[in-house]
């Protein structure tokens, strides 16, 4: 049984379970205490000291995030001594800071900036102790690191180690020289960083940002000789609104399409189309592996693991290179899209592939890196020219002065713009699994998956690792070797949970046939390119929007998407896993070091 304690916060009594921090107790009492190093996704650090409060009888102020409330405490959260102390601390942070709000990407979405505004702090109180000659690290395709805007809250460090188990960034040096650094202070592109961008969405300031490409895109749009196509990932439509003053969980698909047309893209297409295509290829690959294992008794790498999350792909390349055979060889939907844009699509509309600029909008920072992987040139050109984040698209819409709220809904352009509800699911953890099962089960049995409304609830939600199984019964004759097989699957999101799955595989104890892994907590809706803040409450709202989008679709299975049927007929006549598919839609992986 839980013990309860009662305390007084700003003259209000509040009762909370023992072990509750003062900060949480204050939230319960509807008292807001400012924070900076605190992030609900992460363990408590207690280092910024912004959240200090006065506890009667205590010699010093008390950090409310890191101190458990105790019975009978009398707390003042906004007394003059508290406010003065906070103001002083903010002034100190400003004195160490390269304050450039006029040009800063995080301006108006920056926790330091809003604290300084709230406490009316200017930069005249103290001398500047900003280190001279801080170089911005732009070595990575995905992440920019500008130490001159770092408040040393260590949220990034905790993210990279607690959520992602990567530990690419750590704290180096002490005292005045303390900073966030990498192994041996190497540039980000030379260390184990998997470009997931989770550190970016957990950073309170402009110290960590995605590398931005929108200037290049404006240029391409303005170039009459270029045909610029854009495609947007499933999870962008449920989050973009947040960058444009909508509440979390609001779907803005139609307005988003309209805005992109207004921005001047020549064609507005949908990554969901290639998500459906991924299901066709990946589902077939799974079945092929199962056939080899069950019918031909061949030694084949199982479980098969999904490969659409480039942060995850780089993680396994670094951490478990001996298990690369378990990865599906399918490219991610973004890369399938890029290849097809410069082959299938280019041919159909009669534009030379070298004149096509293909842009994708992703919830992700790692997609930028993925687009630049040297092997991603199956079309003969760089398949994806630029990957934008949800945030960058929001920024472009603002830059163009578009009144987003007033836009009329529009539809994606055709040929690679249609999609099923299954494709939309890709945006949430468990979605690839659900989409794949909807198709695989039907291929094998000729019947739809035996779940109400096709909804596979066991794959949904924010639980760390989800597992389920589905019995294959009444198989078609060509799949009779799977009769009675219990297809076991698991879903993990966040690389920490991926590690648990991988350790199981390493010990040869994995009971699964197919595993979906996404690098980011919550899947793509919680991706490193999504609006800031992202936390569990917001993740849940975005996820709910994904499922609503799926349910609102007429077609809910990838193999029933008419444009999918058409592309296999017109362009990939050998069907999934055919020679052409292999050349264009599948890839290979690279073993990497662990540091």
């Amino acid at each position: 049984m839980e013990n309860y304690i009662t305390l007084t916060i700003d003259n209000r009594e509040v009762t909370v379970p023992e072990g509750t921090s003062i900060l949480q107790a204050a939230h319960k009492a509807k008292v807001n205490i400012p924070t900076l190093c605190y992030h609900e996704d992460l363990c408590v650090a207690g280092n910024c000291r912004i959240c200090v409060v006065e506890v009667e009888g205590s010699r010093t102020l008390t950090a409310s995030c890191s101190t458990p409330a105790s019975n009978g405490m009398v707390i003042h959260t906004s007394s003059p001594v508290v406010r003065n102390a906070r103001k002083d601390i903010i002034a100190l942070l400003v004195s160490e800071h390269n304050t450039q709000c006029t040009t800063c990407y995080r301006s108006l979405n920056c926790e330091l900036q809003s604290l300084a505004a709230e406490y009316n702090v200017d930069n005249t109180r103290y001398l500047s102790v900003l280190k001279p000659n801080i170089q911005v690290d732009r070595s990575s395709w995905s992440i920019e690191k500008d130490d001159s805007k770092c408040v040393r809250c260590q949220r990034c460090v905790r993210t990279c180690s607690e959520l992602q188990h990567v530990n690419a960034i750590t704290v180096a040096h002490k005292g005045k020289d303390m900073k966030i650094s990498t192994f041996m202070d190497l540039p980000l592109n030379e260390v184990v960083c998997v470009n997931c961008g989770q550190c970016v969405i957990h950073c309170p300031t402009g110290a960590l940002t995605e590398r931005r490409y929108y200037d290049d895109i404006w240029e391409a749009i303005g170039d009459p000789n270029k045909h610029v196509v854009i495609n947007t990932a499933p999870s962008v439509r449920v989050a973009l609104g947040e960058t444009l003053d909508y509440p979390p969980g609001q779907r803005v698909t139609g307005k988003m399409v309209a805005a992109m047309k207004k921005l001047g893209f020549d064609s507005v297409l949908d990554t969901d189309f290639t998500a459906d295509l991924t299901i066709m290829e990946e589902g077939s690959e799974l079945l092929l592996r199962l056939k080899k294992a069950f019918r031909d008794k061949e030694n084949v790498a199982l479980p098969m693991i999904s490969s659409c999350s480039p942060g995850w792909v780089k993680y396994i390349e670094h951490m478990y290179p001996e298990h690369l055979d378990n990865l599906s060889t399918c490219k991610s939907p973004q890369q399938m899209f890029g290849t097809l844009a410069k082959t299938y699509y280019a041919h159909k509309i009669g534009v030379k592939p070298e004149d096509i600029v293909s842009v994708s909008v992703m919830p992700c920072a790692a997609k930028k890196y993925e687009a630049n992987r040297p092997e991603m040139k199956a079309s003969g050109f760089q398949d994806i020219d630029a990957g934008l984040t949800t945030r960058e698209l929001g920024r472009m819409i603002r830059q163009a002065g578009i009144d987003f709220g007033k836009l009329e809904d529009e539809k994606f352009d055709s040929m690679m713009g249609d999609s099923s509800g299954a494709a939309v699911l890709f945006g949430a953890t468990g979605g690839v699994m659900e989409a794949a099962l909807r198709t695989v089960y039907e291929i094998v049995t000729g019947r739809p998956v035996p779940f109400k409304n096709l909804n596979i609830m066991a794959a949904r939600g924010l639980e760390k690792i989800k597992e389920t199984s589905i019995l294959l019964k009444g198989c078609k004759p060509e799949w009779d070797f799977l009769e009675g097989v219990e297809l076991r699957v698991a879903v993990a999101h966040g690389l920490k949970n991926a590690r648990t799955i991988m350790e199981q595989i390493k010990r040869n104890e994995s009971p699964y046939h197919f595993i979906e892994i996404m690098a980011c907590p919550g899947g793509c809706i919680g991706g490193g390119g999504q609006p800031i803040p992202t936390n569990d409450a917001i993740r849940k709202k975005r996820i709910a929007a994904i499922y609503a989008e799926d349910e609102g679709k007429e077609i809910r299975k990838s193999h029933e998407n008419p444009e999918i049927v058409q592309i296999y007929k017109d362009f990939l006549p050998e069907g999934p896993l055919g020679k052409k598919s292999h050349k264009l839609l599948h890839t290979h992986y690279t073993k990497r070091n662990r540091y």
Binding site: L61, A85, D88, L127, K174
Partner: protein, 393 residues
Amino acid sequence: MKLSLKKVDLILGSYSNEEYKILFEMLSRNSDEILKDLIESGLKGRGGAGFPTGLKWKLCAEAVSDDKYIICNADEGEPGTFKDREILDRVPKRVLAGMALAAKVTGAAKGYIYLRAEYSFLVNKLQKELEEFHKILKSNNIKFNVEIFMGCGAYICGEETALLQSMEGKRGEPRNKPPFPTTTGYLGKPTVVNNVETLVSAFMVCRIGPEEFKKLGIQGSSGSKLFSVSGDTPKPGIYDLEFGLSLAEFVDEFGDGDTKAVQVGGASGFCVPRKKFNETTIGYRGGLTGDSLPTGGSMMLFNSSRSMYNILRNYLDFFAEESCGQCTPCRIGCQQLKNGIEAVKKGEKDPEYLNQLLKLSDTMKITSKCGLGQSVANSFSSIVTNFTEEMIY
């Protein structure tokens, strides 16, 4: 209240080969009795913070866990202290005896000596001592094993939770408290961290009894303490002095006739100017009239040839380097104080700026995460307010 300066010889004196024999006599007593003696004696930690030792052991004893640890803090990094080195060199058996007592009382089976990296020359000697110690423990059927852990060279690692972090192979950064080490210490297990001298004192309390011990010192600060005397003095060195001595007497004894200030407690302690020698006594705070100053044992005398500005700037330099850097008030505050006094000295800032800096040091005192940042204000405000002219001209 005038107290006379009494030299005693409790910690280092009458050391013999009988130490372990005496220890075993004590170990045959029951734990509650030992604890009672300790609490009765009023012994407080000698590492600087002055936490009651008996209570610390009691809290750890009450914590429920299969594994508990006793850690001897021999990181001795406070500028101007060198008494722990002396203790480990001259009376190591007593340190180990203190650890064994703590182990008995708390139920710990494992101990560590966290030894300052610069003291590696002591390792051989300590290893030999440990061999003997373990042999004797074994023959008496006592399960307690002590290892030496070499420190990492950072001053902050002397802070008990940073010390634990560094022992766990992590970055030496102080942890949030609570939880305290007595419940959540090394590897998350209940742990007693005691200063070298505290452990010896605890052993001596049990040896001479709390009554005898309390005859030394004054109310609230019982016993005697080793002081590391340095600076402008004809007789620098280690002295075992009774608590409650007045600074005036101290300066009479150790000064060179021209003492203008004494820094009590090292860089994180207080600077006392000549005019306050009479009203200042040395002991833990509370229960005394006038100023009473706690100290880890460092007493540094300055004569009139010294520039208090330079002294303060050196301290601030030290803190700006040795802060772990994790928390805002300490990391940036130390730099601001240092740059600030430099700017005032150079005339780039008005003398009034010193008031802003004094306020800042107050903020650091009440908002910093650990004792380092909290105590920078001690030397800063005592030097700046008592020697304001020296800061400006």
